[in-house]
Structures are given as structure tokens and as C-alpha cells.
């Protein structure tokens, strides 16, 4: 059954990645999707990132209480945790929930209300028309979203460190610059690119092939979130193994 679904998903992608029938309409849909899937998520991602940064700083500071360890390592550990894991993976799982359910339910509703049939009968490649702008919007915009998340996470750590007195500003700033490796950011962006692809395509698959009524659309949205999250977690491991080991 799983193999059948993977095959169907692959065939769906084959239809999605075709040249758009009308380039102008594709770009209009692309910018609409950037707004729906990306810009509307900035607020939540920023809010979460800021506080996660603060929490990571507090937890690291508590675990590095040995007076022989330089305080700047709190900043060092915070930036490493945020860039390598929290910003790309944590945020992608959050986005899988918000955006994934939105994609699956909108496409699923279009399916059960025959809007997709209407597109097909008109001679429009419905998968290409509906899904391609979402995929391109996600893979091009989410890296920026994750960069914002990284910045705000590190900033949140600095604010909380200062507020609680757990680390001095200078120590924190020295720590976040200590042994900074640009590849960490590249690694995070590569992961984000892959996760963004899943966030756009897996919910589209569940929405597009839904059968039945509103209850089934709800179930499809739930399934979409579950399977997108599972794929993010599994591929997080695979990519980490490939890129960092």
C-alpha cells in the first residue's frame, strides 16, 4: 500500500514539473502562494524563533555552570543549536502543521467540489496549475524565512541572556562569532530546501487524491501533516548523516 502511494506520488510529481501552460498566470499564482504560504507565516515563525532562542540560552547556561568553562560558550552553543537544528527543523515541522493542513484542505475542497474536474475538462493540467506555484514558492521563500528565524533566535538568546544576567552581552557576542562556520548555514538551507519541497508536495498529494466529502478532507489534512512531519524527521537524519558526518 505504501509502495503504491509512493508510486502515485512520483507520478503526481511528473505532472507537476511540466512547463506551465501560461507563464503569466504561473507567476501570478507564484506570488499569491508566496504570500499565503510564506509571508503569512513570518509572524509565527518570528515569535517562535525569538522565544526558542531565549530558552536555548537559559538551558545552555544552566548546563554550563562550571566556573572553569568560559561563559562565551553559552553563545557558541546557542548559535550552533539554532542554526543547525532549531531554525530549519523545528520551524519546518511547525510549517508542516500550518501550511500542510492549509494546502491539503484547500486542494481537497477543490477536489470534492469538482473544481479540479472543471480545470481538467477545460484542458488545464490541474496538478501543474495548482501545485507547481506552491512548490516553487516554498523552496524559494522558506530559506529566507529560516534565515529570519536564525537571526531572531540568536537575538532572542542575547535578549534573554542579558535580561536574566546569565551571560554578559560581550561574552554572548564573542561566543556567537567563535569558530563560526559558514557551512552550518549552508547545511541548514539545504535541509530547508528539502523540507520545503515536502511541505508543498505531500499535502498537495493528500488533498488532490481525496475522495468523499468534508470529513475525508479533514482526514486528508491530518494525514498530510503526519506524513510531512515524518518525512522531515527521517530526512533530517539522512541529510545530517550525509552532510555532517
Amino acid at each position: 500500500m505504501y509502495l503504491e502511494s509512493i508510486g502515485k506520488y512520483a507520478l503526481m510529481l511528473k505532472q507537476v514539473f511540466k512547463k506551465p501552460q501560461k507563464t503569466k498566470i504561473f507567476w501570478e499564482n507564484y506570488f499569491k502562494e508566496v504570500e499565503d504560504l510564506g509571508i503569512k507565516s513570518i509572524g509565527l515563525v518570528s515569535f517562535i524563533s525569538f522565544f526558542i532562542g531565549g530558552v536555548v540560552t537559559i538551558q545552555t547556561a544552566r548546563n554550563l555552570s562550571n566556573p572553569l568553562i568560559d561563559k562565551m560558550y553559552i553563545g557558541f552553543a546557542t548559535i550552533k543549536s539554532i542554526i543547525l537544528e532549531f531554525a530549519p527543523t523545528f520551524n519546518s515541522i511547525i510549517l508542516a502543521g500550518i501550511v500542510g493542513s492549509y494546502i491539503a484542505s484547500t486542494i481537497g475542497t477543490m477536489r470534492i467540489s469538482e473544481q479540479i474536474d472543471a480545470l481538467d475538462i477545460m484542458g488545464v493540467n490541474s496538478l501543474n496549475y495548482l501545485v507547481l506555484p506552491k512548490v516553487i514558492a516554498a523552496v524559494t521563500f522558506y530559506p529566507f524565512l529560516i534565515l529570519i528565524s536564525m537571526f531572531l533566535g540568536v537575538f532572542g538568546g542575547w535578549v534573554v541572556g542579558n535580561m536574566t544576567g546569565m551571560i554578559l552581552s560581550n561574552d554572548y557576542l564573542t561566543g556567537i562569532r567563535y569558530m563560526f562556520d559558514g557551512f552550518d548555514v549552508a547545511y541548514a538551507l539545504i535541509k530547508t530546501f528539502v523540507f520545503a519541497f515536502f511541505i508543498a508536495t505531500i499535502p498537495s498529494y493528500f488533498g488532490y487524491y481525496v475522495k468523499g466529502g468534508s470529513l475525508e478532507v479533514g482526514r486528508a489534512a491530518t494525514q498530510a501533516v503526519i506524513w510531512t512531519s515524518v518525512n522531515i524527521i527521517v530526512f533530517n537524519y539522512i541529510l545530517t548523516q550525509l552532510l555532517l558526518s
Binding site: D117, I121, M122, G123
Partner: protein
């Protein structure tokens, strides 16, 4: 003209279409009637290419659907207008955008030409001043008119309507029926209507096909309905006491018009 030749379709063990042949004429309102579960929707979807029949073929003015390549099929699809049972209007678009959509996808018309055509078809379906509204903001009858306007905007050669009167009050239903008939004559389309609404059949049924249990049971027009002794047709059409009385009256007069 659409020609359907001996099409059969099964879903698992269940045989839904058991060898149906029919011809749907150009410039006429052709109706497919039958009880729920008779195979009407599968038959219509087979004609629309949404369901692949197991056997038989469907031909659009000599072009056999199953023998066409993807590009030729797309070309025919552009000649098809469809009014879905639930209207299938794109709810993220305004009424004007809904009607413009096929023109934007498949023509190189200028914005002004598209706007003019939108207003023209809205006028033809007697609906004006709703251009900037969304489908959810207008009534069911108005949505049906918009669906019709979108279906005819590219001057279709073939017009398919699935239960066009479902959910409409009797007066609005008759207005929609007459509109479909007028548009069929105006655009000389091959119109196929899937219905079980007796008023529609009596109003615009120029050619009627009765389906039952996956078979074609009867074929004729709205006048012939009153003078046939086909038991399946009589059982379906004249099941209500009102229509039984109408039948007696028409038979007494000797004609229906």
C-alpha cells in the same frame, strides 16, 4: 454530433454501463434521464473523458476520443463547456475572474476584449452587476448562471450539464432550462443534459435517453413520452399522480405542445 458506441464500464465486480450506444445531435438539447444509480453520471463522465470506458468508443464529430493523442484531446477539451451539479466555480476568484479564466488560459484576447466578452455572456444569462462578487456572495440560481456563462464563454461546440436544476426552486429551474435551450440554439452546440427533473424533460427535452441498470431502455423526444408503452419509462416518468393526470390529458388531446 457526439456518437457513443457500445460503451461498457465496470468498477470491480460491479457493471455500471453494460453496452450503451447513443447519438447526441448538434443544435439540440439531448437529455439523459434515469433513477439514481442508473449510471447517468458514469455515462456523462465517460463522455467528458474523466472516466475511461472498458469497451466501446466516443466520437466528437468523427474524432474518436480513445484514438487521440494528448494534444488532440486538449483541443477537444477547449471545445467543451461543462456546467457541474455543484457549479464548480473557483471560490478564490470573483465572478468576472471565473468567467475570464478559460479566456486567460487559452486565448490571446486583450484585457478589453476579455472584459467585453465577460459582460456579453453575463448579459446572455441575464445576470449583470455581479462581476466583483465572489461565488459565495451570490445565490444558487445566480451561481448556476455564472457556471453557464463560464461554460459558453469560449463558444463551445459541446455543452454538458450535470443536474443543472438540482437545488433550485421550480421557477429558477425553468429559467435555467430555457437559458440552456436558448444558448444551444444560439451557439449551435451539441448539448447533453443529465437530469431526473421531469419539468426539465417536458420543457426542453428534444432528445431523451432513459438509462436503467446500465442499459439504454428508451429513446425518443418529449412528445413521444406520452404515447409510449415502455414500462420502464412509464414507471420512471409517470410515477407521480400529477404526471399520471397530465399523461391522460395529453393522450386525450392526442398531442403535447
Amino acid at each position: 454530433m457526439i456518437e457513443v458506441n457500445n460503451i461498457r464500464k465496470s468498477f470491480g465486480d460491479k457493471k455500471v454501463l453494460k453496452g450503451i450506444s447513443a447519438t447526441f445531435e448538434t443544435g439540440k438539447t439531448n437529455m439523459i434521464i434515469g433513477q439514481s444509480g442508473a449510471g447517468k453520471t458514469v455515462f456523462l463522465k465517460s463522455m467528458l473523458g474523466l472516466i475511461e470506458p472498458d469497451e466501446g468508443y466516443i466520437s466528437f464529430d468523427g474524432r474518436i476520443w480513445g484514438e487521440l493523442n494528448l494534444e488532440e484531446k486538449r483541443k477537444i477539451r477547449k471545445e467543451v463547456g461543462v456546467v457541474f451539479q455543484g457549479n464548480a466555480l473557483f471560490d478564490s476568484m470573483t465572478i468576472e475572474e471565473n468567467i475570464k479564466f478559460p479566456m486567460r488560459m487559452f486565448t490571446k484576447m486583450s484585457p478589453a476584449e476579455k472584459k467585453d466578452r465577460v459582460n456579453e455572456v453575463l448579459e446572455q444569462v441575464n445576470l449583470e452587476g455581479v462581476n466583483d462578487k465572489f461565488p459565495a456572495e451570490i445565490s444558487g440560481g445566480q451561481q448556476k448562471r455564472v457556471a453557464l456563462a463560464r461554460a459558453i464563454v469560449l463558444y463551445p461546440k459541446y455543452l454538458f450539464c450535470d443536474e443543472p436544476n438540482s437545488g433550485l426552486d421550480p421557477k429558477t429551474a425553468i429559467i435555467i432550462d430555457n437559458l440552456i435551450h436558448d444558448l444551444t440554439v444560439r451557439y449551435n452546440t451539441t448539448t447533453v443534459i443529465n437530469t431526473h427533473d421531469m419539468n426539465s424533460i417536458m420543457e426542453i427535452g428534444e432528445k431523451i435517453i432513459l438509462l436503467k441498470n446500465g442499459y439504454k431502455q428508451w429513446e425518443g423526444n418529449k412528445s413521444e413520452i406520452f404515447f409510449t408503452d415502455n414500462p420502464d419509462l412509464n414507471d420512471f416518468v409517470f410515477s407521480s399522480s400529477l404526471f399520471k393526470k397530465v399523461k391522460k390529458l395529453v393522450q386525450k388531446e392526442g398531442h403535447f405542445e
